[in-house]
């Protein structure tokens, strides 16, 4: 278990365009510099957002990593839920999950207007 190394790698990747270029062109050489288990290494290269969340990666670090991979917001949330369903609860850290797997916590505002939301001056 080397969550520290996983997060250190993601921290350096998230903040540096130079590291991002290397990650895209020669990920193995880059990842060799970090003391990672094969499980962690696989999750970082795939990338397996659900597994990384389960391992306990700080949500802020994981969110920026998902954005770097152009993973859309609702897809990012679903991948984390899928990771918990598949691997179990978050192993460590404070970015655990407290809602139910099927709970819709923050629905996207409907673009098809309902009569109520069209009423002027309702606020």
């Amino acid at each position: 278990m080397s969550l520290y190394a996983v997060q250190k790698f993601l921290y350096e990747l998230n903040r540096s365009e130079a590291v991002q270029v290397t990650y895209r062109s020669a990920p193995d050489a880059l990842l060799d510099e970090f003391d990672l288990t094969s499980e962690e290494r696989d999750a970082l290269t795939e990338p397996d957002i659900g597994k990384l969340f389960h391992l306990g990666v700080n949500g802020q670090i994981l969110m920026h990593f998902a954005a770097f991979h152009q993973i859309e917001w609702q897809d990012y949330l679903q991948r984390m839920r899928d990771g918990i369903a598949k691997h179990g609860p978050v192993r460590e850290g404070v970015y655990a999950m407290t809602t139910a797997l099927d709970e819709e916590v923050a629905p996207v505002h409907s673009t098809s207007p309902s009569p109520a939301s069209d009423t002027p001056g309702e606020n």
Binding site: N14, A67, I84, V105, A106, V108, H109
Partner: protein
């Protein structure tokens, strides 16, 4: 001279990045509150804006985590996040190395701080600046309080740090504004994102507006985590602004939950003499 402005606001990345997914009626009133905050800030004619933020691993990691850090550069870059995702293009943001250095020198008389001549902004600073200094041509002095990597900065130390910021502003000839960004209750960047404890937020902001030191420090990390989530740890930035404006009364200009933005969206300020 005395602080010319003291306020707080939210900084969640969804505010700019997921603008199109929010209820436009609530969202637009929130943006209006940000616009009014910008007008108040501009009317105060600050020479520099001290932004007390809770960053998210853009500069500081658990290999060398400061409780408090202050930037000391003539310019800063940001956002570190994908610009399309955040809805903010990469910018060079104006700083003021000389003023930062004199400011830090004064703050250090009361609080132990790290300083940094390199600093990349993440959404914690870029989202507020997008609304408040949209041309990025007002000098920023970035400040960070560790709200991410436990052990976190104690709340009482955040208050003392705010007092040091006030003393530093008082000692300098420049017009200094201070803005805290963060919180309040939220469970960001997890599947819980959008869960908000509105009652807790209203109670916290009541304490903030009364500038009630004892009430603001009457929290511990375990209860904050249980009631307000890991995002609640960012109350440190609001508490520091409260201390910097000690004695003043605050007004909440906007405080409503916008779940797709993951937070009770907040704009508030103190009436300074």
């Amino acid at each position: 001279m005395p602080l010319v402005y003291a306020g707080v606001c939210s900084h969640a990345p969804g505010i700019t990045g997921r603008s199109d997914q929010a209820d436009p009626q609530v969202r637009d009133r929130f943006y209006d509150a940000f616009d009014a905050m910008r007008a108040d800030l501009e009317a105060a004619k600050p020479d520099a804006v001290v932004v007390i933020a809770a960053e998210h691993f853009a500069n500081f990691f658990m290999n060398n985590m400061p409780s408090f850090a202050i930037g000391m550069a003539d310019s800063y870059e940001g956002p570190i996040e994908d610009p399309g995702w955040l809805g903010i293009e990469k910018q060079s943001v104006l700083g003021n190395r000389d003023l930062s250095q004199r400011f830090i020198t004064e703050v250090m008389k009361g609080s132990d701080v790290s300083y940094a001549e390199e600093w990349k902004f993440d959404h914690g600073i870029m989202v507020p600046l997008h609304f408040l200094t949209p041309r990025y041509d007002t000098a920023i002095i970035p400040v960070n309080i560790n709200c991410q990597g436990p052990p976190l900065t104690p709340l009482a130390r955040a208050w003392a740090f705010g007092e040091s910021i006030r003393a530093a502003a008082d000692a300098l000839p420049e017009r200094i504004a201070v803005i805290g960004t963060g919180g309040i209750s939220h469970w960001p960047a997890t599947p819980d994102s959008g869960k908000i404890n509105v009652e807790w937020d209203l109670d916290f902001m009541d304490r903030w507006c009364r500038n009630d030191r004892d009430a603001l420090l009457d929290y511990d990390d375990l209860s904050v985590y249980a009631d307000a989530g890991q995002g609640g740890f960012e109350i440190r930035t609001f508490i520091a602004v409260s201390a910097a404006a000690a004695g003043a009364t605050g007004t909440v200009h906007f405080l409503e939950p916008i779940p797709i933005f993951a937070v009770s969206c907040t704009v508030a300020s103190y009436a300074l003499d």
